[in-house]
């Protein structure tokens, strides 16, 4: 394994699950959980995380199949490989859960987040904010003479980067949706 020079604990670019389940490496995983959209299902999932001491970095949920009343919960979580496996198993045994996909290990996936940024300012700062927004392909969805609201879509890292740039330029407020993710290909 070492001859192949594959970083221990990393599988996102490998077809094999080479992780040592006992390794004390904290990994971030994006899980897609398909559930029946019944009363209390979100509380059930969140309660499982808090009750068993797991982390939630980001959580998004919406009904994706209105006819079949199915919702998709995308949750970004952190833990050792053993904890991640346990989270998946615990989610999988909830009665309204149909499927749990670990997008981090099941091949390539795309992750996107939408955010709204309110930036207030005048003069050069205002021009600089608008210029950076263009570079980041952010849209202006509201403007007054003293402020803009930018809409930006991208990976969480891109949104973090945009936030860092806007902060000295008069960042007032941020709203983020959390991550939505799908696997690539079919």
């Amino acid at each position: 394994m070492s001859a192949l020079n594959i970083k221990k604990g990393s599988t996102s670019h490998s077809a094999y699950d080479l992780r040592d389940p006992n390794a004390e490496i904290i990994e971030s995983h994006t899980l897609a959980v398909l559930v029946d959209n019944e009363a209390g299902v979100l509380a059930r999932v969140i309660g499982l995380f808090s009750g068993r001491g797991y982390n939630i970095d980001s959580l998004t949920v919406a009904e994706v199949d209105h006819k079949g009343h199915r919702s998709r919960i995308t949750v970004v979580t952190r833990g050792t490989p053993a904890v991640i496996e346990q989270i998946k198993a615990q989610l999988g045994r909830l009665v309204p859960v149909h499927d749990v996909h670990d997008l981090t290990v099941e091949g390539a996936s795309v992750e996107r987040e939408l955010a709204l940024f309110k930036v207030a300012g005048t003069g050069d700062k205002r021009i600089e904010a608008l210029r950076l927004a263009e570079i980041f392909r952010a849209n202006v969805v509201d403007s007054t003479l003293e402020s803009f609201v930018f809409e930006i879509t991208g990976t969480p890292e891109k949104i973090d980067a945009f936030a860092d740039l806007m902060r000295p330029l008069g960042l007032v407020d941020v709203a983020r949706t959390g991550v939505a993710a799908l696997s690539r290909g079919i």
Binding site: P21, G40, R44, A82, E85, A89, Q90, R93, P96
Partner: protein, 584 residues
């Protein structure tokens, strides 16, 4: 077949269609329509309890001793919250229960109405699944699904919360076969490749051990039968958790006793020293494993469990097989036979030689007394005087529970009901009533400690009312014995709040309840007193005054590995120091 009827009638009809013959419950405002329907029929018997916690433990006793789900009916608010402890108990020990609770009318939910509680919110982590039914048309289907979920896969408690207006309204009834249950179908067949890999290990193992648990009993009689076949055909030693006692007979030749914190010396050392551990329906509980880092360091481990989340939860195993115990054992036996019934005979002979050596330690030895009843002696006499009878035993929680597990012998599954995972004091008395209701002609004994017993003693009223001749065998040491033991061994003998002050006179208490009380304090009188208890046709409270400072051994102190076990004759002072431990 769908028929129009009220929600309340639907509840009763659904229970009948599910084959329910008895419901344990307590009425109240929010379930009055259901009680009205129960009043007008004779197929379902209702056992009126004295406290809702008692109802749930009775249903657990009923379920554990019959293999059928136990059914509980309680009102909203305090009725439901009182049932919470029992539901968590059933969740931890995988006991199938269907709890029906009343709720304030749908239009009042969220207004802090009288006896309103967020029952589905409170019980969400206390149940396998729960439902709030807001539409009478869906009520019957939900109840059928509730039975399906409670009994499929890893069994557990479920709750259906039914608002009062849903009980009054009329809707369409659905029969069980019309209810959708396909969304929850846990896998029962194990992976054949993994099973074959396990057989390969079994063929070569020099020091194998079968580590069995409550899953064998939950899987049904076929699983116990298959376990016996496999153990006897291979000659592998069998140990069991507290929850699994009786799945393999204590009289069987492969039996090496219970394992764990108060397990037998030979069983724990076999676990520590084995080279192949086959976990069948157990879950590597912390009372079993001791210190994880030193748990069975030289073994390959296989784990058969119907719950995928049990596998690799605390102990990493080499072979994980997700499936129902009976299905997996059947395949395992077939593959092993087809491959020529091979075992490592010389290895096994050496292994048994070693186990016999460990047995010579006679770890359950205690110093008997001619003047004071030792709790171990009381249980030995109880065992001797009830052997061969159709006997069911329940327990409370504490020292007496561990002694009962050590000194009573179980040759059949479903005969031993105890609160293992949650360790609920107050479990045994109501559980014994539930068992007796299910088996009216059997001998049902609750081995109790006086402190635990007092926690649900109001249920003696239920036992008397429903003529359940349960025998309450109370080992009375006027102490919270297990707490006292830990304080002695681990907290510098500072006995903080661990004695029972102002105890009632149990004989007078029995008379007050309208049953029989027996008191015994002299070992010479014990046999006659036990026989008197057994001969009495009705409930008995047996106050057995025992040695007050007896400790339960062997003991693996918390956080110690299996091979650092304290034995009865070991120095009890400074137990957590290595010099107080028996190192092997």
């Amino acid at each position: 077949m769908s028929r129009a009827m009220t929600g309340a009638r639907m509840v009763v009809q659904a229970l009948k269609d599910q084959g329910v013959d008895v419901v344990f419950g307590y009425p109240g405002g929010a379930v009055l329509p259901i009680y009205d329907e129960l009043f007008q029929q004779n197929d379902i018997r209702h056992i009126l309890v004295r406290h809702e916690q008692g109802a749930v433990h009775m249903a657990e006793g009923y379920a554990r001793s019959t293999g059928k789900p136990g059914v509980v009916l309680v009102t909203s608010g305090p009725g439901a919250t009182n049932a919470v402890t029992g539901m968590v108990d059933a969740l931890m020990d995988s006991i199938p229960l269907v709890v029906l609770s009343g709720q304030v009318p749908t239009f009042m939910i969220g207004t802090d109405g009288f006896q309103e509680a967020d029952t589905v919110g409170i019980t969400r982590p206390c149940t396998k699944h729960n439902w709030l039914v807001k539409d009478t048309d869906k009520l019957a289907e939900v109840i059928h699904q509730a039975f399906h979920v409670a009994t499929s896969g890893r069994p557990g408690p479920v709750l259906v919360d039914i608002p009062k207006d849903v009980q009054f309204a009329t809707g369409q009834y659905k029969a069980p076969r019309e209810a959708r249950t396909d969304h929850y179908q846990p896998r029962v067949k194990g992976d054949l490749k993994a099973i074959t890999a396990l057989v390969e290990l079994m063929e070569q193992a020099e020091r194998p051990v079968l580590y069995t648990g409550g899953g064998v009993i939950n899987s049904g009689p076929a699983a116990s039968q298959l376990l016996r076949e496999i153990a006897d055909a291979t000659g592998f030693p069998v140990t069991s958790t507290l929850m699994g006692l009786g799945a393999y007979p204590a009289s069987g030749k492969g039996w090496i006793g219970m394992l764990g914190m108060h397990g037998l010396y030979e069983a724990n050392l076999a676990m520590h020293g084995c080279d192949l551990m086959i976990n069948i329906g157990a879950r590597f509980d912390d009372r079993i494993t001791g210190r994880l880092a030193d748990f069975s360091p030289h073994s390959k481990k296989a784990h058969i469990d119907i719950d995928p989340s049990s596998i690799n939860k605390v102990i990493h195993v080499d072979i994980g097989i997700v499936g129902d115990v009976a299905h997996v054992l059947e395949d395992l036996l077939n593959v092993w036979k087809a491959r020529g019934r091979k075992v490592n005979k010389p290895g096994l002979a050496n292994w048994w030689g070693q186990i016999e050596q460990w047995k010579l330690k006679k770890c359950l030895t205690y110093k008997n007394s001619a003047t004071i009843i030792k709790p171990q002696y009381a249980l030995e006499r109880l065992e001797a005087l009830t052997k061969g009878r159709k006997r069911y035993v329940t327990t409370e929680v504490g020292q007496h529970q561990m002694w009962a597990a050590q000194f009573l012998q179980f040759d059949d599954p479903n005969r031993w009901m105890t609160s293992g995972g949650l360790g609920t004091m107050g479990y045994g008395l109501p559980a014994s009533i539930g068992v007796q209701i299910a088996h009216p002609d059997a001998l049902v004994i609750n081995v109790a400690g006086e402190a635990s017993w007092l926690m649900n003693m109001q249920e003696m009223g239920t036992a008397v009312q429903f003529r359940a001749p349960v025998k309450q065998f109370i080992l009375n040491n006027e102490r919270l014995g297990m707490v006292r033991q830990w304080q002695q061994l681990l907290h510098g003998e500072r006995y903080s709040q661990s004695w029972s002050e102002s105890l009632p006179d149990f004989v007078k208490l029995a008379e007050a309840f309208g049953c029989k009380g027996i008191k015994c304090s002299d070992p010479k009188d014990l046999d006659d007193a036990i026989l008197e208890m057994l001969a009495y046709d009705g409930p008995v409270i047996f106050d057995c005054l025992v040695e007050k400072h007896e400790n339960c051994f062997p003991m693996i102190p918390s956080g110690k590995p299996h091979n650092e076990m304290l034995l009865g004759d070991a120095a009890t002072e400074g137990a957590i120091r290595a010099d107080g431990a028996v190192l092997v």
